[in-house]
Assembly symmetry: C2
Homo-oligomer: 342 residues x 2
């Protein structure tokens, strides 16, 4: 005995009401109910009111999966970053999220852990979710990933750095940032300097800053040695300072790849009783708040990371809405914050 019209092969799992039920309750067809919810201007105001009332009464929650399948569009934006441990990416994500969510897009966040193969897998997954657009941190991808991106007609936004982007690009010139800090150190009279970074294979943008740094010092006829650490963070910065003093006793300034390292070193110098910048000058990158609170204030470079996220999202949204994007490439620039540590 079937208690239903045709229970031959039913498999509705949840008892959630469907759009059809809402439509029946409102006395309209399913498509009208759909339009009432998604294209309000295409239905009569009274009809819409009845549909909304039925939605409310039945506690209808639209099945977005079905909607995406039918329309071949989801309102997902894939966002792929190499790390969540680094606050830099968090700030960009925040800018992206605020802007996208305000327009009704949902972010799908992927974390590659600096692994390009994982990036490929993530992009595959996200494409499988018919995401509307892709935002990735960085311009470097592996072969498979480049193929996937090339064969995909969705907007692709590459953020953080500037360069030969596939499609849209919002970022800053890291090589130039490295040059900028190097020039500052030179101006301050530092001749014996060291660049300290961590895991530069992954954080290749730090490597680019080192290249800029080296360029300037070599132009001045000076060497610019590099010290690469196994890990990042405050502890690593402190350890890096120790190693620097041991391996390069005559060093006068250290250009750190980021503020975490630099702050760790600066606070450690305090503990060691080393005068900063007299005995050793310290510079960072990122312009994190902590750098402006330590004494002496850290010399660093600040980039508009939140704005970078907003600008990137805005450009993607314009593209998705079929509008022209004014600039495919946008340099957000950076700002040298001269503190008292150099």
């Amino acid at each position: 005995m079937s208690n239903d019209a045709h229970n031959s092969r039913r498999r509705r799992s949840t008892e959630q009401p469907t759009l059809k039920q809402v439509a029946d309750a409102a006395g309209v067809s399913a498509i009208t109910a759909s339009r009432a919810l998604n294209r309000p201007d295409q239905v009569n105001e009274l009809t819409r009111a009845r549909v909304l009332e039925a939605v409310e009464r039945l506690g209808y929650v639209p099945n977005l999966v079905a909607g995406s399948l039918a329309s071949a569009r989801s309102r997902f934006i894939a966002v792929i970053v190499p790390s969540l441990a680094n606050s830099v990416f968090i700030e960009v994500i925040q800018g992206l999220q605020e802007t996208f969510e305000a327009q009704g897009y949902q972010i799908l966040l992927g974390n590659t852990e600096y692994d390009l193969e994982r990036e490929y897998q993530l992009i595959r997954t996200f494409l499988g979710w018919s995401c509307s657009a892709l935002v990735t941190a960085g311009l470097r991808h592996n072969e498979a990933c480049r193929t996937l991106l090339a064969n995909c007609d969705k907007p692709i936004m590459e953020v953080m750095e500037l360069g030969e982007a596939r499609d849209l690009n919002v970022g800053l010139d890291h090589t130039e940032a490295g040059r900028c800090m190097a020039r500052h150190l030179l101006e301050r009279g530092h001749r014996q300097t060291l660049f300290i970074g961590a895991r530069l294979a992954g954080d290749y943008r730090a490597g680019m800053r080192y290249e800029g740094h080296r360029e300037i010092f070599e132009q001045a006829g000076l060497t610019a040695p590099l010290l690469e650490l196994e890990r990042g963070g405050l502890d690593a910065g402190a350890a890096g300072l120790e190693r620097a003093l041991a391996e390069h006793p005559d060093i006068g300034a250290i250009h750190f790849a980021n503020d975490d390292l630099a702050t760790g070193a600066l606070l450690h110098a305090q503990r060691l009783g080393l005068a900063v910048p007299q005995r050793i000058a310290i510079a960072g990158f990122n312009g994190l708040p902590i750098g402006q609170h330590v004494t002496p204030r850290l010399t660093t470079i600040r980039s508009p990371r939140h704005a970078m996220g907003e600008l990137a999202a805005t450009a993607v949204i314009r593209r998705l809405e079929g509008q022209r994007v004014a600039r495919r490439q946008h340099d957000v620039g950076f700002e040298l914050l001269v503190g008292d540590s150099t």
Copy 2:
């Protein structure tokens, strides 16, 4: 003239190959191809090899939207946090993400900005995506949200704090943490103390810590005034210190709601030439690395946030796989880190 069998109402948008095409290329039916990809043990090894070869050759990317609709299951886990600006949530998210992604689940991240109405909207959206489970930070939700959660048969995990959870719960007792620090301050001989927090309506867990703090001091016959700031962060901590000294000149110790505020205050005290802890003792909460790098080291409470995420994810996964979850409620505890600032 149709160049296709029946182009009456075609609307395939992308030219992405479908599972059917893969199946044809491999000489099997669609369902076999599906099984080859999703239930490898249910198909013959050779058949599977042929399917995988076809997948590779055609560059097939599974349409996860269609799969989810058909199976009424997605591999999404909704994760809802009140803020991304606070590194505390980031660490929990990292723990969640690592664990979930390792099991093939994708995180859908929502940010409520401490707004319970936004939380409701996010949960609606995520349910619309047929997420497999929901992880939310905190036990407080608004009426609509509670209804939604009550009528939803998916695993629900509430993290960060312990209490009357709807389903699963992993967290720590914030009231007890507040008591713990208060006892420490009492032991150190501090009688005139002040609790400083920011935006406690949103960060109600800080409010719970204050309640614990007050309880202990009132039991000792002492008052425990509260100073609430408009904003958080290092700057706010510095400003809070100034206000505390102005409004409570006889104060000997400040219990800050978190390490950001405490560190800001501690570094500002340095600049002001105030001896910490002799003139003013400072305590925080969270156990952030920076607190262990400043001089004097910050007294604080560390909670295992990364582990909290891992444990939460593990429990949810067990539930999803139909296994029994040993403990519906799990207290991850906390640890008093006695520094030199108290």
